[in-house]
Structures are given as C-alpha cells and as structure tokens.
Amino acid sequence: MAGFFQKLKGAGSGASKTDTAVSTKTKKDEPQPDLTPVEKLLHNAGPIREDGSDKFFGLENFGNTCYCNSIVQALYHSEHFRNNVVSYPPPGPWEESNGTERKKVKATIRPPVQAIPNGNAAGASKPRQSFGAGAQLPPIAPSMRPEDKPDSPEYKKKQAMIRGPVLELAQEDSEPYGMEECTFTGLRDIFTALIDSQSRTGVLSPQRFLDIFKRNNEMFRNSMHQDAHEFYGIVLNDVIANVEAHGKRMQELAESRSKDGSSQSADTALAKADANPGTRPPGTGWVHDIFEGVLTSETRCLTCETASQRDETFLDLSIDLEEHSSVTSCLQSFSAEEMLCERNKFHCDHCGGLQEAEKRMKVKKLPKVLALHLKRFKYTEDYSRLQKLFHRVVYPYHLRLFNTTDDAEDPDRMYELYAVVVHIGGNAYHGHYVAVIKTKDRGWLLFDDEMVEPVDKHFVRNFFGDKPGMACAYVLFYQETTFEKVREELDAEGMDQVKMATQAADLATTTELVNGSSPALLSKLNTQPLSPVDESETLVTLDQIKSAPTAIDVARPVDPLPPPLSQCEAHPLVAAPPPAPAVLTEADKAATVPPKTKAEIAREKKEQKAREKAEEKARKEAEKEQARIAAKERQEAHQKMRETLRLEREQLQKAIQESKQMAAEDEKRQQNKESAATDTATSSDTGGNDEPPRNGFLNRAGRTSKSMTRKSFAFLHIGQQNNNKDEGKGGDKTDRSDASEDKGESSADGGGKAKENGNHPPVPPPPPPPPQQQQPQNGSGTSSSGKHGHLLRPWLTPRSDTAPAGAVDQLRHNKDNKDKPPLKERFSFGLGRKKSSRFLSPS
C-alpha cells in the first residue's frame, strides 16, 4: 500500500528536492515496515558477540563511494584482518593503566526521525543523484522515481537509512591510540564502531574515513566513479605504512625511554623485538601476514641455460581473463611460461648480455587471504579508453593453487571464497560496486551501500560475467581454510537447507531438527533458535527488535541496548567489554572519554531499574573476576569512581557536543568542497587540518605520483617517454616521473584519470629506449613484473639472503622517514610484463 501511494506521489510530481522531503515526511508517519530479511535472519541471534562477526551494517554512499563501501565490507568481514585492526596498536606499558578496555569510538547515532530530512539534504540525496549518473540500474518509467518502487534497491536503501540506526563517526578519534589520523585509524574507527554497536544492523557513515583517505590520495578526491581494486590496494598500502610508521615511532620512543632509564619500557621493547625479529617495527607485520604472498619469477636464459630466481611479494594477484575460462585456469596462465625476446630480452649475468629467456612466475608463499583481481577493464586503442570485458569467468567456492613452486609450504592449501566485489556497469568509468560476502555463520549476504540482504549461496554465481545486467565479479577474496572445515561446513549447510525446507513445509514430524539441539545444526540460520522459539516470534515488529532488551541481555553481561535514539544523540556507542587493556590517551581525552564500564554504570544508575542493574553488575563483575585477580579492590575503586564519574560524564557530554559541532562544521566544509567545481590539487586542501600545510602538500604530491606508480605498472609503457620531468622525489626516478606525469596530465583535464588496473593495453609499445636503459640495474633478474597488482616492496635482492632486503630498506626508511611518508618505499616500480626491463634507468 505504502509503495503504491509513493508511486502515485512520485507520478504526480516530478522528482524535485522539496518533493523528496515531502514524501519522506509522509513516510515517517507510516507505521514501521515489516522486518527486513536481514533482521529476520538475525532474529533471536543471541547475545551480541565481541568480535564483531555478527554486525551487518550497510555503508552510506556519499556519491559514487560504492568502491569504498564494497571494499571496506570485504575487509571487515575478513576475520583475521578485523581482529588485527582493532587490536592494533597494542597498549604500551608506559601508558598508565587506568583504562581497561579498548578505546571506544565516538560514534554518534543520527536520530532517524531527524535523519530523514537531514539525510536527504546532506547524505541520502547524494547517492541518489550519483546512481542516476552511474546508470547502474535499469531505467524506470520517468514518472516514477526509482526509490519509490518497493522492490528497487533504491527503495531498500532508503528504507535502511530510515530504519537506522545510522552511525556517524566523530572526528579526531585517532588520538586515543596515539596515532595520527590516517587511513588506518579511519578504518579502525569504522571497525570499532561496528563492533561496539549494540545493534546488529543499521547503516554506518564512512565519511570520516573517506575524508582522510581522500586527503591522502589526490586522485580519489573527486566524486567520480573509482576503481575498487585500486582503492583496495591503496588502502592496504596505506594501512601498512601507517602501522609501520607508528610501530617505528613506538620503537624509537621505547628506545629513548630505555635510555632515560625506564627499565620497564626497555624490557618491553626488547621483548617485542624478540617476539618479532624482522625488519619491520615490532608488531606491525600482521598486514603482511594476512595478505602478503611471495611470487618467484624464474628466468632461464635460453643461451646458457642458467636459471635465476627472484622473489617478489604481492598483496593481490591481477589475472588476465580469457573468454569462457575459470579462475583456476586464469591463474594457470598467469604462471604460464613467457618468452622474453626481441625488445624485451633478458640481461643474463652469465652470458653477459641481452639474451632470449623463458620466464615464469609461481607462488612461493601462499597468503592467508588471496585477493584475485580479475582484469575486466582493458585498454582498447580503438576507443582509446578502458573497455569492460564481459568474459564468462567461473569461480568455484573453493580453490587450491596449481601454480605453486615445488618448495612452497603447504602447496595444496585450501581456500574458500568469502567475498566477491561485483562491478555493475558497462565500462570502467561508470557503474556501481556491491559486495557479496560469506559471513562466519550467517551464510552469504549482499552488501549494496546502505542495504544489506541475505542471499542464497547460488546468488554468488550470478556474476560470472555472462548474465544480463552487466554485473561481473571484479575482485575475488579467497581465504585460507582447511579440508575438514570445508567438509564440516558443507555438511552443516545442507542441514540448514533441510531444516528450512522442513520448516517451510511445516512438517512437525522431525522435531529434532527444529529444536536445533544438535551441534551440527549450529550454523548459518540455525544459530538463531538457540532456545526453542515459537515460529510466530519471527513476526515481531521492528520496534521489538530494536528496543526490547530482553533477547539480548539475557545472556549478555553488558548493559542493555542504548536508550531510545532520540535521547542518545550525544551518547557514545557502548563498547563491548573485551578484557583488552586500553590505550593511554591524553589527559583531556581521558576525561572526555572515561572507561566504558564506568560510563555505563553511571548511566545505568540513571536509566535502569535497580534490580536489573544489580544483576548486570553482578554478572559483569563476575566476568571481571575471571580476568583479574584483584577483583575486590577494583570493586571498591568502582564505588569511589562512581562519584567522580558523574562529573566526568557531564564533561563528556560537553565534549561530545563540541565534537558534534565540529563534525557539523566539517560536513559543511565538505559540502563546500564538493560544491566547488574544480578539484585541483591546491583547491582541495581540506584535509590538512592537523598537519603542517607544507608537509601536507608535499605529502599529497608525493603520494599522488606514487599511487599512480602503483597502479600503472603496465600503464607506464603506454606513452610517456620523457623521463626528465621528474618532480623531484628521491628514489627511483624514471618510472615515477612517468607516473607523475601521467597524473599531472590526467588531473589537469578535470581529474578524469585513466584507470589502468594493471591491464596491458594492446598498444604497440613505444620505440624502445636506448639499449643501455634496457639493462636491469640488478643482474639477478628482471625487474618486477606488472602482472600482479600491488607489489609491496621492490625486493631487489633475492629472498634467499637470510638478511632480508627489507633491512636495507628499513634503514633507508628510517633516514627519510622524517620528512617523507614512509610508504613511498613501499611501492614497487614494476613495469609492464612484456617490457619488464625497459624503464629502469642505468643509474
């Protein structure tokens, strides 16, 4: 009915902004809609988990930011990555231990009632417009706006925004863990906010993260459609850079402290160094552990038969697509032998000259999370633009790699598909991204910006590329698993289907199945009825789910759901209480954000009935006892603290008001920025608040070229030959200058950057540079190949050296760390596959 009225309304008057406001106002008055499929899925899910694996939030779209949303979702739902992100940085021992829990993030909930008009003005309306531009959706009768059609994604997204809660992240949240605001902290804040949320569903606004990210990456600083894979690579590299920079600072800090005589921190520093001996600052290797694999490129000189090997690290593999192939097969051809001949000869140390050679790349170290970038965008000279390949490329739910080296550890490692980032659209410059993600125990979900919807397992197979609708898998995320886990899961999966079928058929005969008492049933949907549930309960309204604490606080030792949304405008999201020690903050921060339990208790006092509170407290304290020896003392301390906490709480609210104001200002600024027509590098200087402007500017400039470098491994050989126009960064000059020049040109014409994705355009290569330039600097092999998407570091020495090349790298790192962002070192200067050695200057 409601949809029908909406239709009428939409049909009657065009889609103007005022109209939207009107219609949404009427929407507000409508009764709460029925449960969404996700809410049904999560109904009776039991207590909220502390690891965040049961949070299924949509992410708000700020105008073509679906590339970010889909990748962030995929990253969040990687258990390894999520856990590591939220537990970094580890608390330092020099920080006084007055806080006991992980710092919570100042997330505010946009009250749904006001959020609708606001959201329409600020956030919600933007994506609508961009959708139209993106043209990813079937054209709908002009008289009807897409969001008014009840089954349309727009409608669902709008409903999701209305439904809320809409989490917004406050600014300046990086302080608590002693890091400057950076991509990592932005991501960490998102993750923490989701984990801490008391609701399992809702929408989170990643605006803050995007602001930070865009500040550091110029080419994303527009409202254009961006490449999700590129974004993924840059985010990971940023995260690595941020974490390592922080790790190094901590290390230095620890060293300086140990010089000062603080034995405690010295010990810790030593312990840390022992725990993680390596080139990286201690405790920062986790990103590498998760995503990094090692490729060995073996080159065999055809003249002297000498084989040389080089190892390179990778964060993902960019694989060329063949028509009607499988991912398995594309990976095989990735590792197929390649002839280095003609203009692409190999400089053999043994023969001492350019020789023909055979080269092949194999995987030596298998990463925990294997990201496969399907090169769907191919440069075509005819149109001088990137074209999308709609090849049918099938991908299995499970995978093993055939292209491993003989000495690879666990070469038969089993991978399972856990996320598919899908590109919908006709070419590289338009379209939409969504993510289809396998969650830990809730089956597969479709994450389409604000909307989250459970889907059938077979839905995953809709994106092979041949179906109508132009939706193709673009990035596949496979994660490590084991055979027995797979078997177990497959067995359980079937049980679900049977159970659902049984329930659907309303067969009361097989009660054992319905009760779900056996552990085999505990998966996917079956985790819901932990206690036997009346079927009719699935029909409870949204209100119940949102506000009724009963379902949750029965088993949960934390406080119930936050108070009604209207009250909690300034209410920091309550964190789950993991026994992880908190990070020290500056004094005022500590005051504004008191340890979570205290705040909770204080609030509880006010809001909860006495009995409930007592129960909660007792349970909570019982839990604490397990974690701590001095529980009693702490309890006493609690009593004392409580008095003081009231004062603190008032302070807190003040502070939050302030931060809200700041957020509003920021939003305004953001809007202004977006309204500004041009987005040249100088004009979009919004992000530099907390950096010295000089540094910030340099920073950006440097990064721009670097990120371009990264993405243009293959792009390099398209055109630019003028190696002289170096923009003055240290390090390897030639290729970067190429890149920065590219960038300069493309950004000059309105930021329309050519997205390359590491594809090798079938362009006839430019005339080769003089032969001296063809010689690799390093005789041990050719330079890194553009086959892979994101190379971590240019390992210029063979890996077999036990003293890793990274050590040298690290030294350099330390030297120019002061004025240059460390991540510069990280970008490899890999070149086009066929032209692997051409651009290395003979310096």
Binding site: S325, D412, N462
Partner: protein, 630 residues
C-alpha cells in the same frame, strides 16, 4: 476437441514466414548447417575428426504467461529456476549394429568381474536381466559392452516388485494420457511433424534417434534423416524446463519407446513417443519437490528408473505406479550403528540414509525406494557396466560409490576442490571418471584402494574451465588402454588416452607402488592435515604412514563402522599422477554440456542448443564398417 491455440508470439521475429502459415509453424525452427574449414576439425592419433553438421535447436520464446523481463536487475535476489543446457539421449532401435567392434574383438581380461566383489546370489537372474543381457546394443555409452554380468535385478527378492505377468509379452503397457489432447497446464503444446508416421516408416532401422532438451522445449529428432532439422515431435512445457532424460534400452522397439524426463519442478514425465502418451509422476512434487538433476532407467529394468533430486536424494520410481504421499520410512536409524538416531548429527559420509528401501513391504505406490546421499545436489550418477554399482557425484565435491542392489554406501571420495559435475564408468567397469569445478578430470579405481586409502589413479589437466561431461569411447578402448572424452564450460573438447602403465607420475612419487608416502617430499604436512581433517569429519582408512594419533582415530572409526572404511582423503597434488590430453580443442561458441560417442562420430551439445556431429576419421569408420559386415 483439441483446438490449436491462436498465435501466441508476436511475428516480428519470424519475418520470413509468410502470413497465413499454419499455426504450428510459428515456432522457430531448428537450423542445420555445415560449417567447414580448419577450425571445424581436429587431428588426433587415429586421424582427422571433421565437423559433419551443426544442428541448432531453436530456443523457444518464453511462455506468454511469463512476464517478459525487460531490464533485469542484476542483483535480484529471487532464486532462479533451475535450467540446463541441451543434452541428448540417443537411441538405436537396431540391436546389433552399435556394438563397439574394436572392443568386442578383444577378449576380456580380468575386467569388472575380477575387480568388483562377487555377489552371493549371482546365479539367479531375473527376466529383466536376461532381457538386457541379450540387448547388447545399448547406447548408454558409459556401460556399453560386457553384458556378461549376471547381477541380480534391482529389488529382486521383493515379490511385490516382481513384474506383473502380461498376456502378451510384446505388448507394452502405455502411459495413460494422450499428450496431444492433454489439457494439462504443465504442457503448453505438442507439435508433431506433419508426416510423422511416414517418416517413421521410411527411416532405416539402424538409424539413430535423438531426444534433446532445450530451454522449456523437448524435441524428438531423427538423427539418421537427411532432414534432421525437422523434429519428429516437439513438446513445449509451460514453465518447467526438462533438465535430464533417458530412454529405456530394454523396452525399445519400433512400436514402443519409453522416455523419462526430469523437470526443474521436480516432476517426472514418462512419455511414449510413438503413441504420444504420457504419465506425469511426482506430480506437484508430492514425493520430492526439488528439481531432478539426472534421471536414468535402471539397467535391465522395464519399469524402474532412478532420479537424482537436487536435495541429495536418489529416488527409484516405477513408471506404472501412482504417486503416494511419501514419508521417509526411518530405516536408516536402525539399520546401521544403532546409536545413529535422527537427533544426533546425520552423518552422510559414513552411510546411505535409506528413506525407503526397495525391500519395503509397502510397494503399492511410488517411490519404490529413496536414498538420501547428502544434503547437496547430486549432479550426476552412473550405473556400473556390471549393474551392481552406482557412482554419484554431487555439488559438495564428493564421489560416492554405492552398491545399489544392497543399498549400501561403499566408498566416498573427494574432489581436489569444488563440486563434481559428471561421472562415468569405463566400459569394463574398472575405472570411474569424474569431472568437476576444479577443471580436472579425476580417474578413480574404486576396486583398488591403496594403502593410503585413495583410489585416485590420476588427475587430468587440460580444461580451462569447469568440466561438464565425460564419456568413454568404447570403440577405442581395449583391456589395457582407454579412450575417453570430456567437454567443459571452456567450450573445449578434450580427448584422453589413458593406460595404467603409461601414467605420467610425479617425479617424487611412484603412485602405483602405493604406500610409499615417505618418498614424497613436501607433501607431509598437507597429507597429515588432510587426513586429520577427514578423520575429524568421520571415517578414514587406516594408514601406517600417518601419525599414530591419526591412525588411532582411524582405527577407532573403522571399528565403529564395522571395519568398513568409507571416506578417503584428498590426495596432494605432488603425489598424484597427471595426464595430459591428447587433444584439446574449442569446438563451439557456447559452453558445452554433453558429449557422446557413436560408432562413426562424436556428438557434442552446448548450452545454446547446438548439437555438433564430428565424424570419426574415415579409416576407422571403414574399419568398423567392415567388421560390422563380417
């Protein structure tokens, strides 16, 4: 009175049709073409295979009752109905002509009989069986020759299943309903060729019939006719897609052909094309509501056939029985280990769950038997040539070997990764070949599991995408070497020559001298992990090479399952022999979904309805011709 419906489809698509054509012609027609050129032939050892013709079956437009999808939402989460690419069931009414001459000329060595355990009451043989033994011309190529086996008939011993004595043995019972006059909403329309009877009379007796599904249509083709593009009969179903079909080789005659079709709705149609009569079984999914992914007549049986439903159930139906409301008879619980009650975890890796046994006393209605293999879709199954065993592959990547006569699960093997999609037996019943989503074809020898507990003989690498169909070429098999072919989503046909002595083994491991695990460097951790995993999930063959803990569990497990070990660990790649194809060639524009061998050709079919006939090298054809004459 049957009145032809008015034209249902807008005529734009058929502009070549003059106005006022008879209504049935409004359907799009099949197109026969003869493309030639180097890309339409391929060369293997025995000679050149050349594309003879390409028969493109017309894909029918959607039924008018279905709303046309204008702009499909690529993210629509509504489940899609099951469909399948074109597959063929071939039928030759002539008994003698299709015997694989090459194969027959060689005496049979220790084939199936030696390798597969003897059945206690082998001497007994039912009428069904005798009939099939004499019927050597079966065209179900996975089990063509060697009907020397005298396995008992399925369900023997249950008197309730004994075939009802008929007055006239030659007079077959026909299905009940007239298809042309049917007003069933299931069938949209039936179109017979104008001169159907004449064509049937004029055709050569050894000519090949083909039955093919395309989209919601089902066509009966005369592949021996010069005008093979003109179907004999075309049935259009309203909504349901026919996913699989089979022809009974026992009852075939010039006056009677039994065809069964399985549908996306779970329903099954038994159709007799000569008299155009049909019966609908499992109506409205009363027995099982999930789509039928594979269907085959039980070898030697006149009226029993086996259907694989997508919920992992194998159901035996009797074509002549009525549907009954089916509630699983809980025999499974009491049958094997007593503690396996329904409340505990149902373990499909250790046993077959018999929802209804063939020996059940209640045989008044369908189903005759129902076995639950797992909860995952069974993609295909195949009967062993000796009619004792059944190999079934499913979407969860398992190959199950069943003794379907005894209703027992014998072995459980796992794919390297991904689901398995097709399976067939070697003509001598010694090997099982599977293809799947790991782009591999795996050769298994179920009768010879080695000390490591694996029956994997080799993995065949050559396809560039998922494998969709495998079949042996019985005309190029002898007792030592085997020829089989495969097709896949990569539009390729691969041909493989495989002989046990010639396998390309990995350097580090000699597979035939099995049990020498220690000589496999690099495989250690995985091997342990894999086997550990298997033991955790259930059964494991005891293996002295594994760590003691694992062996202990294995032993325990072995005891609990009466010493019978069922599931086998996955072989690491480093320890497995690999086989390269002798031919890999792209032969179509669309993913292929079926291939079959006839004495003079290889047939392939694709998702889009192309049936291509590749004639064998002429020398061989001549050779075969001579042998046939002699």
């Amino acid at each position: 009175m049957f009145v032809l419906p008015p034209p249902r489809y807008p005529p734009q698509g058929y502009t070549s049709l003059p106005a006022g054509m008879p209504v049935p012609m409004i359907e799009t027609n099949n197109i026969l073409s003869n493309p030639s050129g180097p890309e339409y032939q391929f060369l293997v050892g025995e000679g050149l295979y050349v594309l003879k013709e390409d028969l493109h079956l017309a894909t029918p437009p959607p039924h008018p009752s279905e709303a046309p999808i204008v702009n499909p939402n690529p993210l629509a989460t509504t489940p899609q109905p099951a469909t399948a690419g074109t597959r063929l069931s071939l039928l030759n009414l002539d008994v003698s002509s299709l015997f694989p001459a090459v194969y027959r000329s060689t005496s049979r060595a220790d084939g199936a009989q030696g390798s597969i355990q003897e059945h206690p009451d082998e001497s007994k043989s039912s009428t069904d069986m005798r009939e099939s033994s004499s019927d050597a011309g079966r065209l179900n190529f996975s089990d063509v020759p060697l009907f020397t086996s005298n396995a008992p008939a399925f369900g023997e011993g249950n008197t309730l299943l004994a075939p009802v004595a008929q007055k006239d043995a030659n007079k077959r019972r026909k299905p009940k309903n007239n298809m042309s006059k049917s007003n069933s909403s299931f069938i949209s329309r039936v179109i017979n060729h104008e001169s159907l009877n004449k064509r049937l009379q004029d055709r050569p007796r050894d000519g090949l019939f083909g039955f093919a599904n395309v989209n919601r249509a089902f066509q009966w083709l005369d592949l021996s006719s010069t005008s093979k593009a003109d179907y004999l009969t075309k049935i259009l179903f309203t909504k349901a897609h026919c996913l699989c079909h089979d022809v009974n080789k026992v009852t075939k005659s010039s006056t009677h052909i039994d065809v069964v079709m399985g549908f996306s709705t779970g329903e099954i149609i038994w159709w007799e094309p000569i008299t155009q009569r049909y019966t609908r079984l499992n109506k409205n999914g009363i027995i099982n509501g999930t789509p039928v992914s594979d269907i085959q007549w039980i070898p030697g049986s006149e009226h029993l056939f086996l259907a694989a439903h997508m919920d992992g159930t194998l159901v035996v139906y009797d074509k002549e029985k009525e549907d009954g409301i089916f509630i699983p008879e809980e025999e499974a619980a009491s049958r094997t280990s007593g503690d396996t009650t329904r409340t505990s975890r149902v373990n499909y890796s250790s046993q077959l769950h018999i929802h209804k046994s063939v020996h059940s006393k209640n045989q008044k209605a369908n189903p005759v038997a129902a076995w639950k293999l797992s909860n995952h879709r069974i993609n295909a199954f195949a009967f062993s040539p000796d009619n004792r065993h059944l190999a079934a592959v499913s979407e969860d990547g398992t190959l199950r070997i069943l003794d379907y006569l005894k209703e027992e699960l014998l072995d459980l093997h796992y794919s390297y990764y991904g689901g398995l999609s097709c399976v067939c037996w070697s003509p001598d019943g010694k090997y099982v070949v599977t293809g799947g989503q790991d782009d591999l074809i795996s050769i298994w020898c179920p009768s010879e599991t080695d000390s490591r507990g694996t029956a994997l003989v080799a993995r065949c690498q050559g396809h560039h995408s998922w494998v969709t169909s495998v079949a042996f070429d019985p005309w190029r098999c002898d007792e030592r070497s085997y020829r089989f072919g495969s097709v896949g989503e990569d539009r390729r046909i691969c041909l493989w020559d495989f002989s046990v002595g010639m396998l390309n083994r990995p350097r580090a491991a000699s597979v035939r001298h099995r049990g020498s695990v220690s000589s496999r460097p690099g495989a250690g951790p995985l091997q342990r992990a894999e086997t550990g995993g298997t033991s955790a999930s259930g059964r494991l063959r005891s293996d002295s090479n594994h760590s003691t803990a694992v062996s202990a569990t294995a032993a325990e497990e072995g005891e609990t399952s009466k010493g019978k070990v069922l599931s086998h660990p996955v072989e690491p790649r480093a320890a497995t022999a690999t086989l390269p194809p002798i031919l890999s060639k792209t032969v179509d524009d669309d993913p292929l979904c079926w291939l079959g061998f006839t004495p003079d050709a290889i047939l392939t079919s694709c998702k889009n309805g192309h049936i291509r006939t590749w004639t064998r090298p002429s020398e061989l054809a001549q050779q075969l011709e001579e042998k046939r004459d002699a």
